[in-house]
Amino acid sequence: MDLFGKTITELQALIKEKKVAASEVWEYFVKRSKRHNPKLNAYVSLLEKPSNPIVKGIIPKMELWGIPLAVKDNYCTKGVRTTASSKVLDDFISPYESTVTSKLKLSGYELLGKTNMDAWAHGASTETSDYGLTKNPWDLGRYPGGSSGGSAAAVAAYIAPGAIGSDTGGSIRHPSAWCGIIGLKPTYGRVSRYGVIAMGSSFDCPGPMTQSVEDNAMLLQIMAGKDPYDATSSPVAVPDYRSKMKTKRKLKIGIAREYLKGVEPDIQTAFENMVDVIKKMGHSVVDVSLMSPEYSISVYTIAQRAEVSSNLGRYDGIRYANNRAYFGQEAKRRIMLGTYTLSHGYYDAFYKKAQKVRTLIKNNFKKTFEDVDLIIGPNTPVTALKVGEFEKYPFFGELMDQLNESASVAGIPAMSIPIELDSKNLPIGMQIMGNYFDESSIFNFAYQIEQETNFFDVIKKGREKYK
């Protein structure tokens, strides 16, 4: 049976109906990964053997039985090397399992490999990885975006049917947009951070990256929920995303003009066309006014750098592979800036003020969501850049993530979906932001668009040349 391009949901059905064996699925993706990874460099580590033993002929009731997934290398996976793409952790074999991967394991998934990322998740290109750059499957001369670039490339080239990423300031949405797949940053606290190597602790959100909206909802269903090991995880009940997704709701969609500034014309046009489609689908579209994303960038930069400087202190060279000299340029920059803003005499001017503005941004979103169900806008100001352009911008990440960081600062859920290709034949993403813990509305809306447009076959076109 040709498994090429099958969604996770489709693979689950084939396994359940015994049309394909779990071991075949495993071998299929291992083979594809081995074949395509050398040019893509999507993985830091590729597993040789399935972690959940596959017993021939027996199909347990576990939901993800026999489904191999790629997991970003900042998730601690017991007995498997976990580096966060930094040589500082070059030989770190985690002695424990993150909550997210534990949940996936209990659902029967197979860990296919650990995906490449910007070192410590610092960046939007994977170029800061100590294990080489991941290439964009659409154009090997371009960045996949980041920091979850390896996960995005793996899904886009279909060397994995789905992947897990983490989003601090756009790290799931940004590469999803540049690689033309679906990526969700859930509400902060919806998914446990336990065992995810901390970047910006008050922003970090684990989330799914997939080829279909249903796959995305299904993975979030497994990942979400209160975790006794994460005090910031939320006790809010997890709804049944898939059943809620399939009732066609007419939604009230807000567009913030502040989020269209400085966006490439191709993206602008694609977005406007999408708005027309949305209107034709019967949703109402209204203009909303949000605080300028510039404020979010300032707040994000200060708070995240402060948290980074604190979180990286433990890699002092005493207990892990390599010493501090192995920190890359970007990590050093962030440690220095964060240390500075937390210093005595500067704390009030920077960190404390940033927290106050953060509260204003949260309130701004809360108020806006009293009026609309969702807010949409372009996901990135530009499509995938050519390798080397990173060098030109000292705050490359912030520039690329400028439309993503507001949702991170506020802690609201946001998804990137592919809506079109630009004139360079590169995918364009649209961002859908929802109210706190209202991933359901995002799934509902994205699913309707998928049904209506199939995302203009962007996902299909992306994987086609890796057939």
Binding site: P95, S201, D230, T232, S310, D316
Partner: protein, 480 residues
């Protein structure tokens, strides 16, 4: 008029004896365990591990705050305190900065002016002043003085690991890492080492009453660091407004007595430096209990920047009035109240009441034992059971290392009025007078001290079955 007034403030760390550690589920009792066997990803700061606060530890910290008459903050949070040290696995300690569990407390200690004078060390150049007395001798009976010690704050934090230096290697053991610690900070209200010792003893008693820590200084479950300096200003209010421009912190003090000795040593050392017109260095000093001296450990010229910021992994804590009140209700009767009640209700002597109230287990034993005794019928002939029980315990006449039932039995045996065979007693007395004519003669000649000798002989003949006091009375009558 003396020149210097000591200015002493305390920082006290109390290790809570919760079941699990502050932020993970490892056993909080690390004592005597194989190094690094009592650890998990959280307390060794593994990548990705997260802290989850221990609810009991939070409640106990509130309880300590309440026992020290503090205001409990309804909004409290944890903060990260950054510094590098090999025993600190995350490179920050989770502590509390600007919103501690409790603030603005007060704690009274009772001391006597005379004991203070003898407690204050003489040094070349004079003696230290002592004038933070709240009440004068006249206002407070029995020559006692009540002093008010202000408590600045009570906060919760995690303990660090432990370093062991062996030869040229340093080994680190994380078994203690993340054990809950309560830090109690006082204002620099102490003016002598004796008061510090009294304060520590009282604090120790209360912490043990709350049953939240062993508070054992020798084992390190209670640690204290005094900040010591000398002021030229004798007026208290003025002195507090213009604190000395240096202070010396003393570490590694592991008993109440060493606390006093270390402070006394330090006061004299500093006075000698000031006498020369110099200022003692701002530094941390260690205490060597063998030599009885303090020694320089590290300079604190530059205040260390800990880069505190709110711990993002733990949401801020909110406590309602009801929650705070519910915790207050779990505080048992504290020693001073218990002592007062023992004196008031049972007529105990002050020193007896104080000894019984010092340890909650002894006070509880005392109360359970005398009520047990009173429930036994045979005790009805014994008067003043409460007082007799107290005296039996305090004077160690009956051991308290037995069950209350056994104690009660022994007590009744000891104090029950004896059924005296009056006929036999008369016979015995008569025969002793008859058989000891020489001693009787001496007695009558004025050697009245022999009365005890006669009583002893009677008691021996009676096999102890007589009341010595009654025998003495009878004997005196017969001899005259």
């Amino acid at each position: 008029m003396s020149k210097y007034t000591p200015v002493i403030g305390l920082e006290i760390h109390v290790e809570l004896k919760t079941k699990s550690k502050m932020f993970c589920q490892c056993d909080a009792d690390y004592f005597g365990k194989k190094p690094n066997s009592n650890t998990c990803p959280v307390c060794i700061g593994m990548p990705g591990a997260l802290p989850v606060p221990n609810r009991t530890a939070v409640e106990w910290a509130i309880k300590i705050g309440q026992a020290l008459n503090c205001v409990i903050n309804k909004h409290s949070k944890f903060d990260r305190k950054h510094y590098f040290y090999p025993d600190l696995p995350k490179a920050y300690q989770i502590s509390q900065y600007d919103e501690p569990i409790a603030v603005n407390g007060r704690f009274n200690i009772i001391t006597t002016p005379s004991s203070l004078r003898s407690a204050t060390p003489p040094y070349i150049g004079g003696e230290f002043t002592n004038n933070n007395l709240l009440l004068t001798k006249e206002e407070y009976p029995k020559g006692e003085v009540v002093k008010k010690i202000a408590i600045t704050r009570v906060h919760l934090e995690e303990d660090t690991g432990k370093l062991t230096h062996t030869g040229k290697d340093t080994l680190v053991d994380f078994n203690r890492s993340s054990v809950p610690l309560v830090e109690i900070v006082t204002e620099p209200d102490f003016e002598n080492a004796e008061d510090v010792k009294i304060f520590l003893e009282k604090l120790h008693t209360i912490i043990r009453y709350l049953d939240v820590s062993d508070a054992n200084m020798e084992e390190g479950s209670m640690r204290m660091e005094p900040n010591i300096s000398l002021s030229m200003i004798s007026d208290k209010a003025e002195r507090m407004k213009h604190l000395p421009n240096y202070k010396v912190e003393v570490k590694n003090i592991n008993s109440f007595n060493f606390a006093k000795k270390a402070i006394d040593f330090e006061l004299i050392r500093q006075a000698k430096i000031l006498d020369k017109g110099e200022t003692p260095a701002q530094e941390t000093r260690g205490y060597d209990d063998k030599k009885g001296i303090t020694f320089s450990q590290r300079s604190k010229e530059e205040a260390q920047d800990y880069r505190y910021f709110p711990e993002p992994d733990i949401p801020p804590m909110e406590f309602s009035d009801e929650e705070i009140e519910a915790i207050r209700l779990t505080i048992p009767e504290l020693p001073s109240a218990k002592r007062e009640r023992f004196i008031r209700d049972f007529g105990l002597k002050e020193n007896e009441a104080a000894i019984l109230a010092r340890e909650r287990s002894i006070a509880d034993y005392y109360e359970s034992v005398f009520s047990k005794i009173k429930s036994i019928r045979a005790s009805s002939e014994i008067e003043n059971v409460e007082k007799l029980t107290a005296s039996a315990i305090v004077n160690k006449r009956i051991s308290i290392s037995q069950s209350p039932d056994e104690f009660a039995e022994k007590f009744i045996e000891t104090y029950k009025p004896i059924d005296v065979d009056q006929d036999k007693l008369s016979e015995v007395i008569a025969s002793i007078i008859k058989n000891n004519p020489k001693q009787v003669e001496q007695y009558n000649a004025g050697k009245t001290g022999l009365l005890g000798y006669f009583v002893g002989m009677v008691m021996k003949e009676m096999n102890g079955k007589a009341d010595p006091q009654a025998v003495q009375k009878l004997m005196r009558e017969r001899l005259s």
